[in-house]
Amino acid sequence: MKCGKYRREKMADVCDMLLIRAIVRPEKKDDVLAELSSAGFNAATMVDVVGRGKQKGIRIGGMVYDEIPKTLILMVIPDEAKEKVIKMILAVGKTGKEGTFGDGKIFVSPVDEVYTISKGTAGL
């Protein structure tokens, strides 16, 4: 991966990082975050967002609700933790056994560099 190579040259001592953007139900966010925290992934940022999915919102009677409130969870994790984190979010974030429309999405994108301001150095 090109971006990974660019970052490796600059930050040889830090492993590859990924940004996980998970859109989950607001009522599920506490469960998801508690589960992640117990597995050692405590650091997270969350934003309240509104959105709609493939189903074009919810139609109740004549009303169409296409600004459905969700919570966006941002996490930066090492490459090798990806599978574990995604599996956890998928398991805890879904409603019912089979999952339901509106349970959300997970997006994964590469991160080149990470800096901690209080330490003033590169790395998580």
Binding site: C3, N42, A43, A44, L74, D112, T116, I117, S118, L124
Partner: protein
């Protein structure tokens, strides 16, 4: 082309904005978010503060267990605090300069909770007004 995401303290929003303008960024987006960092693993640091806070926070109405739970969650890093998320689109060469500016503006003496900066690759950008794409759309 890179996207810089910086999570900073609410109180440092003004300082960060000033620092970014001084560093010469084209523009930025700021969002109110809730954030938390790594867990505090040193129990000694927690105990010291905990005693101080418990002696201040106890009253006859709330249960002792609840107060202690709340104070602990404040100290060990499991609670979310309000933060400001800055998103900045920059040219590749400007990344180190802007990271330095953000770090300088946001560093405090507490040694924890000052936030993090993430640098991510961006494949394309378009300026809506003119339809310019790529590097020209940033600056």
């Amino acid at each position: 082309m890179k996207e810089i995401m910086a999570v900073v303290r609410m109180k440092k929003t003004g300082a960060t904005k000033k620092a970014l303008v001084a560093a010469g960024v084209a523009g930025f987006t700021a969002v109110k978010v809730l954030g938390r960092g790594n867990l505090v693993t040193d129990p000694k640091a927690i105990e010291e503060c905990k005693e101080k806070l418990l002696s201040m926070g106890m009253d006859e109405f709330s249960e002792a267990g609840d107060t202690e739970k709340m104070v602990t969650s404040f100290l060990d890093g499991s609670r979310f605090f309000p933060r400001r998320l800055f998103t900045i689109l920059v040219h590749d060469d400007d990344v180190p300069r802007i990271i330095e500016a953000i770090t300088k503006a946001n560093r405090t003496e507490y040694g924890i909770g000052d936030g993090t900066i993430f640098v991510m690759p961006v494949s394309d950008a378009v300026r809506v007004r003119t339809g310019e794409t790529g590097e020209a759309a940033i600056w």
